[in-house]
């Protein structure tokens, strides 16, 4: 890549796999469990966090020499809050139904540990361009897991993907596809505990492929 140096590329690719915020650092679990019952909500959440973390990291990085370190948490909160309100208003204006599904969890992006974590750990000590890449990378790592979990939960729990019935028609009396063979949706998939188990399985697969990740 001409645009990015090797070091910069690593900022984006690292959080996607070997330093993933959810599966390795175990941050942002709360929203990952709560809103992943539908794939659509997962995608919107992923994009929202991408926006907030990307812009937020740049803003904090630009302000890093101005912010007094004693009140830096408050300043960071103000920045995140402003960005989250923008996201929230946009969702309410253009995707009202979806914003109702996500309900309080859009607002709770403020408390997502990944965001404060990146501000503290990276944006306060690096330039805007690198901070931007770091923000995008971490948000993408978060989003990838959300989308994987959302995919399996919606497919196995409701038999749909993005709202389209992909496994057939489940209505009794007029079943088609898999349902005609006696298949039934797995209600457990729609409950949060199953999201935790799905994330656990992802962590399991990841660690068995890359032994360096196993600490003991």
């Amino acid at each position: 890549m001409g645009l990015l140096s090797k070091k910069d590329t690593k900022l984006i690719t690292d959080p996607l796999a070997d330093n993933n915020p959810i599966t390795i650092q175990v941050l942002g679990i709360c929203s990952a469990l709560a809103i992943t019952a539908e794939l659509k909500a997962s995608i919107v959440m992923a994009v929202s966090v991408l926006f907030v973390l990307g812009i937020g990291n740049v803003v904090i990085s630009l302000l890093r020499n101005v912010i007094p370190s004693k009140i830096r948490i408050i300043v960071q909160l103000v920045v995140v809050a402003a960005l989250v309100i923008i996201v929230d208003q946009v969702l309410k204006a253009f995707a009202y139904e979806l914003s109702k599904t996500l309900s309080v969890f859009v607002g709770l992006i403020i408390t997502n540990c990944i965001i404060m974590g990146r501000f503290e750990a990276f944006a306060l000590g690096n330039g805007p361009w690198r901070s931007f890449l770091d923000g995008i990378g971490n948000a993408a790592g978060y989003g990838v897991i959300l989308i994987i979990v959302g995919f399996f939960r919606e497919l196995l729990g409701s038999g749909t993907l993005l709202g389209f019935p992909v496994l057939g028609n489940p209505i009794p009396g007029e079943q088609t596809g898999l349902y005609a063979l006696g298949y039934e949706n797995n209600g457990f998939m729609l409950l949060s505990p199953m999201a935790l188990i799905v994330i656990g399985i992802i962590i399991w697969i990841q660690r068995s492929r890359n032994k360096d990740l196993i600490e003991d």
């Binding site: 009396g173 797995n186 998939m189 188990i197 656990g200």
Partner: protein
């Protein structure tokens, strides 16, 4: 050459290869191995883990056989083809017709449970390169006994795969699991496919099919297979006598209905010292305590008949032991040596809370009529904590004694 030497030479042939654990498991399942340890200290006992597991399975066999007859009996009774059995040895109950239905419905559950579970155990043993663990022998027998008779086989297979992998293998296999695998499997079924695990249809073979026929417009009568707990939860007086509940001629999961046979199994387990009598007794005590509390509340008039909890609260306190899966859970599930408390004092607390919470859930949450499943899983999680405090208490007591002596 006998079967034993055949198995032995087969084992020798595959020694050191990837498949060795699989053949070793087959050999030692049936016979004691040919070679014994020559050096080091020995414990000379005949009952290894496999023999322990086989003893539990022996204690379960009467429940299984009774469950098969009961499956057929409930089916024919609901269809109106036979009358009520009058007593435990009634010929109406122990009939060939009943057994045929039972074999037809229950054996596939047993086969699927063992087939899927053991396949996963063998695969994990080969991948991880250790011996095949015996833990699934009992789980595989428990699972068909705690599900409704009409459970679709593919659901059972999915649940068994989930329970064995997530409930046991991820923690490191038999002996390392936190939760009872059989109950993990049942809990998965319960939360994933609630329509197949509760309600008034699934407990009697044929009721679901009959409902579908009615929905399709055929002119037949619906079969009701309401369990005793189910009708109590709706404030209906159950139509079964105490004797029928004790003998187990009531609808319910395959093997859990006969309190009498479970009692015999409990005596067998206690006599062979496989099951802990402390856990069984304290679980029963816990349930009776909660039952008495609820009866007291009703007697004081703090709750009226219009309350939705009245039916179950008003149940005579010791009837709770006879209905639902309580007795089965207390004897075969709570006593699991891996997931239960290890210390003797801890076992009393562990069992008491299982009984206490079972009846609490049973009465206050009619959506989860099987309180004993959730109560045991909950206490499984707390068992290590209980043990920790028992051990710490013991350490403290001894430290005090030490100080007095040295002072």
């Amino acid at each position: 050459m006998g079967l034993k030497s055949n198995l032995h030479s087969l084992k020798e042939k595959y020694r050191g290869t990837k498949m060795a654990p699989a053949f070793n498991a087959l050999h030692t399942f049936l016979y004691a191995p040919n070679e014994t340890t020559h050096s080091g200290s020995h414990i000379r006992v005949v009952d290894d883990l496999k023999r322990t597991m086989n003893t539990v399975i022996m204690a379960l066999v009467p429940c299984l056989i009774f469950g098969m007859f009961n499956a057929g009996y409930q089916h024919h009774l609901a269809l109106g083809e036979i009358g009520r059995a009058d007593g435990f040895f009634s010929a109406i109950f122990w009939s060939w017709d009943n057994l045929v239905i039972g074999l037809w419905k229950v054996l596939p559950l047993v086969i699927v449970s063992y087939g899927v579970g053991l396949a996963i155990e063998f695969i994990f043993a080969v991948i991880k390169g250790h011996e095949v663990e015996e833990g699934y022998l009992v789980t595989g027998m428990l699972v068909p006994l705690i599900v409704p008779v009409d459970t679709p086989l593919w659901m059972l297979a999915v649940a068994v795969a989930f329970g064995v992998v997530i409930g046991k293998e991820v923690f490191g296999g038999t002996g390392m699991n936190i939760l009872n695998p059989a109950l993990t499997i049942r809990a998965f079924l319960f939360f994933a496919y609630p329509t197949w695990m509760s309600g008034d249809k699934v407990w009697v073979h044929g009721a679901v099919a009959r409902d579908k026929a009615i929905a399709a417009g055929q002119n037949v009568d619906a079969i009701s297979g309401e369990t005793v707990l189910g009708s109590l939860a709706q404030n209906h007086e159950p139509s079964y006598s105490v004797a029928e509940m004790f003998f187990g001629m009531i609808p319910g999961s395959v093997g859990e209905t006969s309190t009498m046979l479970i009692l015999l199994g409990a005596l067998f387990l206690i006599f062979t010292k496989i099951g802990s009598w402390r856990i069984i007794v304290s679980t029963v005590l816990g349930a009776l305590t909660m039952g008495l509390i609820f009866n007291f509340v009703v007697a004081q008039g703090w709750i009226t008949e219009s309350s939705k909890f009245f039916g179950l609260m008003n149940t005579t306190w010791w009837h709770h032991l006879l209905i639902g899966g309580f007795a089965f859970g207390a004897v075969y599930m709570a006593t699991d040596p891996v997931t239960g408390s290890q210390t003797n004092i801890g076992k009393w607390y562990y069992g008491f809370f299982i009984g206490f919470i079972s009846i609490l859930i049973r009465v206050f949450n009619p959506a989860y009529p099987e309180g004993v499943m959730l109560a045991i899983l909950l206490m499984n999680v707390f068992a290590p904590t209980i043990d920790h405090y028992v051990v710490q208490g013991n350490v403290k007591k001894r430290m005090k004694r030490l100080k007095v002596k040295t002072a």
